[in-house]
């Protein structure tokens, strides 16, 4: 077990390294002078030179990369050009809303998608299945802002049930925290729900055709037990894998959702940074999020042993 864990952890290093190279090259390989772009249209030649020096763009490429990598390894993600503050600090300030929204969305989606997928597979081909699948493909296609503004107009503006936008910290007011999360969670969650419902249905469909399901029924077990204990547990590996890879989709949606609901999270930080050409912030956000993505998928990989005893390392 442990040798595998170590191997698996080490295997993430090249991926993170590649991410670092990609992020590094983004700025350097872009057409035009990045320093000029960052400085903006009204910048003087001196401003551009200053920015170039600040970013180290005047040095040889390899030296730049090694310097930058060295900083990263020391946990120094650089400084915001616009705010002159460490990027990591900026990210830390904005992490709570994004984390809260992502986690609540995952919980919402998983709670909704798995019963949907199981039910659809259980009654494959029936009207229940067809309805669930039609709803899924619809949910997968509707843009976040259509659902978001629809909910805002329907529930907040007309009925005044929930706050229209914004975010309240959990430590500040837990009730307001939850109330502010409801609409963004639903708006963002539907896409992820659709994705998970589809994979759940597909794997359950396969599992329910297995001989051991017939055995379970022949033992006189009730259908819920057959489906959940015998079916879902066997189907769990692909579902959990999709929860992990779907994170990329989820994070993309978070950026849009934060914008729709004016949530001051990392997505908003990114957009602000892009509009201000605050390149170190953009780099830092991408690196941080890629790191989280790789980490989550690593944990999921390692969890397979718990889900399926046949997987041994």
């Amino acid at each position: 077990m442990w040798p595998y864990v170590i191997r698996r952890v080490l295997a993430t290093l090249p991926v993170l390294g590649v991410v670092a190279v990609i992020v590094f090259l983004l700025l350097r390989l872009s057409p035009g002078d990045p320093a000029a772009i960052i400085a903006g249209d009204n910048a003087s030649a001196d401003d551009i030179l200053a920015i170039r020096a600040q970013l180290g763009l005047d040095r040889p490429m390899l030296e730049q990369f090694l310097l930058w990598l060295g900083q990263l390894l020391r946990g120094d993600f650089g400084k915001s050009i616009y705010l002159s503050r460490p990027v990591l600090g900026l990210i830390a300030e904005r992490v709570e809303p994004t984390l809260a929204l992502s986690l609540s969305t995952m919980a919402f989606a998983i709670a909704l998608a798995i019963p949907m997928g199981v039910l659809a597979a259980w009654r494959a081909g029936s009207w229940i299945d067809q309805t669930i699948m039609a709803v899924s493909v619809l949910a997968f296609s509707v843009p976040v802002f259509l659902i978001g503004y629809g909910l805002v107009i329907g529930l907040s503006l007309s009925l005044d049930l929930l706050p229209v936008q914004g975010f309240v910290s959990l430590t500040e007011d837990p009730v307001a925290f939850v109330r502010h999360l409801v609409l963004p969670t639903v708006a963002l969650g539907l896409v992820y729900t659709a994705l998970l419902a589809r994979i759940t249905r597909a794997t359950m469909l396969e599992t329910l055709n297995e001989d051991f399901i017939r055995t379970a029924r022949a033992k006189g077990l009730a259908e819920p037990r057959v489906l959940i204990l015998h079916g879902l547990k066997n189907a769990s590996v692909p579902i959990v894998t999709t929860i992990g890879t779907g994170l990329a989709l989820l994070i993309g949606g978070v950026v849009v959702t934060e914008s729709v609901f004016a949530i001051p999270g990392i997505g908003r930080l990114t957009i602000e940074a892009v509009l201000q050409r605050d390149y170190p912030v953009i780099q830092g956000v991408i690196l941080a999020i890629a790191f989280v993505y790789v980490l989550v998928n690593l944990v999921i990989d390692l969890s397979y042993t718990l889900l399926d005893p046949r997987i041994r390392y």
């Binding site: 297995e210 077990l221 066997n234």
Partner: protein, 337 residues
């Protein structure tokens, strides 16, 4: 065994008709008008080539036909007089695994790979007898001992992939017998196993049957298994019963041309090792259930077939004792072979 127990069958199937919806109007008939019975402590073997409907007969008895296409079109399945075709799904669940158990052909795939052996046996007990979990696990342990699995305490905590094929089939038997069923349906229980293991498993089933008095319906295509296990034999062809007799009568006096074909394909019966061979040496193939011939289903492959055989399906007629056969040609000729 008391006279009453002998005369009263545990299971009686009358005129069972199993159909599959095809989406093209009329359904496909997989089992057609099948009747059978089995008494306490008795073993009935159902023999036939694959696709003849023998497995579907067992699944029909348990009402486990594949959804949503399979269904029982007609007939009665009487378990101690209660018609299982008519009971509710909840009542049926109480029958499955408790009054009637089933073991399947593939011990590799019929156990759940992600649940320990102990839990898989114990959950049957828990569902049917509502005991404490600890008591259920005790029963599971006792069952593993009964099916002679070495180191049962350790096996309890293991997963199916950690066991050999023979051991797994012992586990499925332990699971099937955990609630002391009145009837055990065994669908090709030894087909997937090595020859030496086959004999052990058959011995085990026979031993446990003697101890518990359970009735056994054993489905097989292997006449060696039939000779070893059966008291009575039912030969199926293309969804219908073509011949039924006591085991000795059948081997001494096979009457239906199909049964004779099966026997002929098995050269040294009773010789060393049982001389088991697959039943595919008869010329031709089983007709598709979609394109069943008008007359006798076996007629296209039958050397003795007459015009009448092709036109009209033969009824099942008694030819002495409990021996009955469905054939226009050989039913009348008496004991000749």
């Amino acid at each position: 065994m008391t006279g009453l127990a002998v005369s009263q069958p545990v299971l009686v199937v009358e005129g069972l008709r199993t159909e599959f919806a095809t989406g093209e109007g009329h359904p496909m008939v997989a089992v057609d008008g099948l009747s059978l019975y089995v008494r306490r402590g008795e073993t009935l073997c159902i023999v036939g080539e694959s696709g003849c409907g023998k497995s579907l007969t067992a699944l029909s008895i348990l009402r486990l036909l594949p959804r949503p296409y399979g269904r029982i079109g007609a007939g009665r399945v009487l378990l101690d007089g209660q018609d299982l075709v008519q009971v509710t799904e909840a009542e049926m669940r109480a029958v499955r695994g408790r009054a009637i158990s089933m073991i399947f052909q593939e011990p590799m795939s019929s156990l759940n790979p992600v649940i320990t052996i102990g839990r898989q046996i114990a959950e049957t007990v828990m569902v049917h007898e509502g005991l404490d979990w600890a008591d259920c696990m005790d029963r599971a342990l006792a069952m593993l001992r009964q099916v002679r699995i070495p180191e049962p305490e350790r096996r309890l905590q293991e997963y199916p992939h950690q066991l050999s094929g023979g051991m797994r089939q012992r586990v499925t038997i332990a699971m099937a017998l955990a609630c002391r069923p009145r009837l055990l349906l065994a669908d090709e229980p030894t087909t997937a196993l090595d020859v030496t293991i086959q004999a052990q498993i058959l011995d085990l089933i026979r031993d446990l049957q003697a101890k518990t008095g359970t009735a056994v319906v054993l489905i097989t295509h292997d006449l060696g298994v039939v000779a070893e296990m059966a008291e009575r034999v039912l030969v199926m062809y293309a969804g219908t019963k073509v011949e039924e007799a006591g085991v000795e009568e059948l081997f001494d006096n096979p009457t239906h041309p199909y049964t004779r074909g099966l026997m002929a394909a098995m050269p040294h019966l009773g010789g060393a090792g049982g001389g088991r061979r697959r039943l595919h040496e008869i010329e031709g193939v089983v007709p598709s259930l979609m394109a069943r011939p008008a007359g006798c289903a076996f007629a296209p492959r039958c050397e003795l077939a007459t015009e009448r055989c092709r036109r009209e399906a033969p009824p099942l007629v008694g030819i002495g004792g409990t021996h009955s056969v469905a054939c226009w040609v050989t039913a009348g000729e008496g004991v000749l072979a």
